[in-house]
Symmetry: C2
């Protein structure tokens, strides 16, 4: 495949992923005005990953890898949709739906780039590397901050309990102890303030 053909494929991919801007999440913006979409969510995570890196113990995750992983981590939702964190039924076929989506969307790219981006996404999903653990921690903390600072808008809407939130952020403890301490404090406070059920 020559450069021109590669570029045509890349442009098709760039056009296609514009759709991530239409995938709405359950999280609402900090001012409570509307739901957040996956594209803006992803940008926010990437900024958080940059700014909070010092809270990981040495050896720290490689930030460049974390950023790339975060940038691609929700792209499969263009086809598979956003599965709400506390939707158990939605999780049953999540993996299958997302793998099919990855094949189609990343498959618009030249083969080597398709493989590279699928690998980044799978590494994120598997939560084994330092980078994946840190990226996943950030992905768990961001909606929690949005919930807390909007007085629990999305928690209340879905009747979420503190044990569910604690369970969801359990992976943060090892990769970023001070962030874990922060968010467990917010959860306690959210229960006291009635943002979140006990």
């Amino acid at each position: 495949m020559n450069q021109g053909e590669r570029l045509q494929k890349q442009i098709e991919f760039i056009k296609e992923i514009d759709k991530l801007k239409h995938i709405l999440r359950q999280t609402v913006l900090m001012d409570g005005s509307r739901q957040e979409n996956d594209a803006e969510h992803t940008w926010h995570l990437a900024m958080m990953a940059m700014v909070l890196l010092e809270h990981t113990p040495e050896p720290r995750p490689n930030l460049s890898k974390v950023l790339k992983m975060l940038l691609v981590h929700d792209i499969v939702e263009i086809d598979a949709g956003d599965t709400f964190a506390y939707d158990t039924a939605g999780y049953e076929d999540k993996q299958e739906r997302e793998m099919k989506a990855a094949e189609r969307v990343f498959g618009l790219l030249p083969e080597d780039q398709k493989q590279e981006l699928i690998s980044l996404w799978l590494e994120f999903e598997e939560r084994q590397s330092l980078e994946a653990k840190y990226a996943a921690a950030i992905d768990r903390i961001q909606p929690l901050l949005h919930n807390y600072y909007t007085g629990g808008l999305s928690w209340k809407k879905h009747g979420v309990r503190s044990s569910q939130v604690l369970n969801r952020i359990s992976g943060v403890a090892d990769i970023a102890p001070s962030l874990y301490e922060l968010v467990t404090g917010l959860i306690q406070d959210a229960v006291q303030k009635g943002y979140l059920q006990e």
Copy 2:
């Protein structure tokens, strides 16, 4: 300043930059449904930078630096607003408005991080390094693609002429010749199709 105080400042910054999701651009999404905001725009640029890097000549820009630069490049618009590319009056005091915004928004962070992010932003603005030239090229190409694939929605609305668009993308030629060739071809075609004035 201890870690706890640093974290509090970082969280304030993370809350504040959520506002980037409210800053609307003149560009419309690929399906023409609505205007794009700065946060989702930024995510799209970061993905483009990853996928199109091979079109830069050797020595290539450092992708990690490019990504960080892109992630922060529009944050000043939280205070300064988006200045439309072809708004000459808006450009008169753009620099002053944006510097003030940078001081305030990045100033929410601990001093070392404030300086790091302001440096990244200024490097982007100055267009001198390879990374800044490539990031700026991507920032010029993305709205052009959106315009072209929506039949010139924003070009038509603002009566933009092809000479203005060509002038705006002139910096792409050196840093990514094959991308320059692609977009000049799209501009010619856009004129023929009536998306863009001669």
